[in-house]
Symmetry: C2
Subunit: 252 residues, 2 copies
């Protein structure tokens, strides 16, 4: 039995607590949060904790807190030589206090409170200073059902940057399409099969090979027509121009 305490009750902390509680060979020792934890999550409140000084011994402490709080909380932990990991894509390992054994346990996924997540869809990127700690983190991740990748801090930051492109930025393009369809009395839903197929194609093709459309085939007439349709939203016109240029640069 691996004992784990989770620090933080945001999306990531909550999902980890739920999954750890549900796993037979893992034990959720304690769940710390500065303020009271919303108990609608179905977890027994016996292990809740609001005081870092009351943290009991555990095999692993997962700091699922905001990037800016990692260093502070790591410094404030009232124990030494235990395994403490953070869950951030962009914070380097060195920001954890060296009085404890350090690691990263970064779930590469977008979390929402609404749904229970299937951890087989959540790759976990692992980094440790001590090789022996790797094995424990790998066991925890695999027990949750996650595939694991060993990735150093610098690589992880590039991965996080890539994640911003495929998740936040893609979502903003969906948002723009949502606005455009709304404005013309069209249902956004009509686009969903296309959105799905755009990803589906990448099962067999690279994004380079999968590209189609007016930018790639340099269809000036359609591009001009689209830019005219965007006249009233110059910000979107600019995005259209820039990504069109990018596609043409890639395929030119």
């Amino acid at each position: 039995m691996i004992t784990i305490s989770v620090i933080g009750a945001g999306q990531v902390g909550t999902q980890f607590c739920k999954a750890i509680s549900a796993a037979e060979s893992l034990h959720l020792e304690q769940w710390y949060n500065r303020s009271k934890i919303d108990q609608q999550n179905g977890l027994d409140d016996a292990n809740f904790c609001n005081d870092l000084m009351q943290l009991k011994p555990a095999d692993l402490y997962i700091l699922a807190v905001s990037d800016s709080a990692i260093e502070t909380i790591s410094n404030a932990l009232p124990f030494e030589n235990r395994l403490v990991v953070h869950t951030s894509g962009s914070v380097a390992l060195r920001f954890l206090n060296k009085k404890n054994r350090k690691g990263v346990f970064y779930p590469l996924q977008t979390f929402s409170k609404a749904s229970d997540l299937d951890f087989s869809n959540i790759p976990i990127c692992i980094e440790t200073t001590e090789k022996s700690d790797r094995k424990l983190l790998e066991t925890v991740a695999n027990t949750l059902g996650s595939p694991t990748y060993f990735i150093q801090s610098e690589q992880r930051q590039s991965l996080h940057l890539s994640a911003v492109f495929v998740n936040n930025f893609t979502n903003q393009l969906y948002r723009i399409a949502h606005e455009l369809t709304d404005r013309h009395g069209l249902e956004f839903d009509i686009l969903k099969p296309l959105m799905q197929e755009t990803i589906q194609k990448l099962q067999n093709l690279s994004p380079y090979m999968a590209q189609t459309g007016p930018a790639k085939r340099n269809d000036k007439k359609t591009i001009k027509q689209h830019l005219k349709l965007l006249e009233k939203t110059p910000k979107y016109q600019k995005i259209y121009e820039l990504i069109t240029q990018s596609i043409q640069h890639t395929h030119g």
Copy 2:
């Protein structure tokens, strides 16, 4: 039995021919292409045709040709008062010659030669000048398994523009992420569950509600770190800045 002739042997024409041939209540009367049609598609070659003058009577002619060829081929058709539709997202109905009954039969999907498509994932946007022709186009689409939408030319152009955002532009963001992961010795595949979940979330949330990430929470430190990582690719840096601003404008 509805008889249909398809003009054009690109991705769209080929997929329509395959699906029409497979449907019991539709008959592929002829398949026209200027040059010889590649016969590896498993269709009987008895109905191939290279000469517009040899087109026989049919209930429907589908012009699945490039946008720039629609007007020319429509003018060259050697018959009158039959139902002729094009399949383009961006060409207005008026570009079809008025000697025939006119319509649009626009499949809102990205087509690739490789795979047989499931038409239940291909919404078809229908437009006609004569109301009685609507019914026939709707029957054909539904027989293929497609949901149908009645959409006028102007709306259709906005829909096509939206499709460029969610398909071609999204795919270019995937391309950029592919480059970034490659450059740092990471597998692009590690991002795929995140890409999938980004869309999955939109089953229950609007793109507005689904947004997360450094731009939305105005995490200046991470944004600065990301822009630094993109120093060697100023074009991608520019895209990062512009979409980050767009997210902040949407959520500001």
